[in-house]
């Protein structure tokens, strides 16, 4: 086996191991892990059977197989980044709502300490 095939095998194996370990230790939610598991399995397939990539390149009309790989990689990373931005926006909205709730509860609690609670 040439060193050119060892590198992708190592990368795919490492990613797989990392994902499974993170999942096992409850450090990663499934919805994020599934994507990376798919990516590492795909890389593993290509590392073991390089012909798959060559065939895919011929089918899509891409002259250099590695360019197809780069194109797909860029696309996957773009989608992941957008998804993470979306998640961050959602989390920001949620923490914002919590901050508002906390402020209101704090004012209510302070009022309760200084005067008898008003029954309306």
């Amino acid at each position: 086996m040439t060193s050119a095939r060892i590198l992708p095998l190592f990368a795919a194996g490492f990613t797989l191991f990392l994902m499974i370990d993170l999942l096992r230790r409850h450090q990663l939610r499934e919805k994020y892990a599934i994507l990376w598991l798919l990516v590492s399995v795909s890389v593993l397939v290509i590392a073991v059977f390089p012909g798959v990539l060559a065939n895919a390149a011929r089918l899509t009309g891409v002259q250099t197989p590695s360019n197809l790989l780069f194109f797909i990689a860029a696309l996957v990373l773009l989608v992941v980044c957008v998804q993470l931005s979306w998640e961050v926006s959602r989390l920001e909205d949620e923490t914002r709502a919590l901050a508002e709730e906390v402020a209101i509860l704090r004012l209510d609690a302070e009022k309760g300490r200084f005067q008898p609670p008003a029954r309306e």
Partner: protein
């Protein structure tokens, strides 16, 4: 401060970030010139003791655990006003620009609208802004006037009164981005069928600090305003919640 049993008419919401030097005077002038109004200062993560000064001056203080921006502070204020049963809320800046004596006029104008803007450039008083910024403000005003089909001269004014329908909408959907809080809020309101009106007011010079002006800043201002406005036009708002807030006309007929 309102005790138990007293009818809760209106709440002045004062978003404040490090305004220790002016917030006390703003609270005092509100309590003096608008005596029917309770005062709530939303301390937006200040580090200079703004909240303590406001409380000492006689305001209720909502202390946000960290900085949320004017939009976030107002959202918290609207939520508090709704839950405490206030019939109306009026936003007043903590820098002392907004004249507390104009608050009753804004509130009484709510009889024929859901949102009332205290507007500069509407004939009363003098308010000087320079070149680009003035141009940007006029462009925004013209665009929004057309979109809302009502004459508005000052859409970036933060001096505004809202009734419960507007508060209900804003407690959920008040924009949190810079400038969105003033410009986008009006578009959201009109999308929800709320009626916007304006009352001319005199702005006072700020008590402390300088306004952000200058050519570069004005250009940035125009750019961000355009983005905020374009976004407001294309954004969708949750249908069910907008439907919750009936149109002003429909509610008038129901009465």
């Amino acid at each position: 401060m309102t005790g138990p049993g007293v009818q809760r008419s209106a709440l002045a919401i004062v978003p404040a970030l490090n305004e220790r030097r002016s917030v006390g005077l703003v609270v005092q002038s509100l309590l003096r010139d608008a005596p029917s109004v309770d005062v709530l200062v939303v301390d937006d993560g200040s580090t200079d003791g703004t909240g303590a000064v406001a409380a000492a001056a006689g305001a209720l203080v909502l202390t946000l655990p960290y900085n949320l921006g004017v939009g976030g502070a107002m959202r918290a204020g609207f939520k508090y006003a709704l839950r405490s049963g206030y019939a109306a809320a009026v936003q007043v800046d903590a820098d002392g620009q907004h004249d507390a004596a104009a608050v009753p006029a804004l509130l009484s104008a709510l009889a024929s609208a859901d949102i009332v803007i205290g507007a500069r450039f509407a004939g009363e008083g003098e308010y000087a802004v320079t070149g680009m910024r003035r141009g940007a403000m006029r462009l925004l005003a013209a665009t929004l006037s057309r979109a809302l089909r009502t004459e508005l001269t000052d859409v970036t004014s933060g001096f505004r009164a809202c009734n419960r329908e507007a508060m209900t909408l804003f407690a959920r959907h008040y924009p949190v981005e810079y400038l969105g809080d003033t410009v986008e809020a009006l578009l959201i309101a009109s999308r929800a069928g709320l009626k916007v009106a304006q009352v001319p007011v005199v702005m006072k010079p700020r008590l402390h600090g300088t306004s952000t002006q200058g050519t570069l800043r004005s250009t940035l201002y125009l750019g961000r305003a355009s983005i905020a406005l374009s976004l407001a036009f294309i954004r969708r708002w949750p249908h069910d919640e907008v439907a919750d807030v009936n149109s002003h006309e429909a509610r008038q007929e129901a009465r």
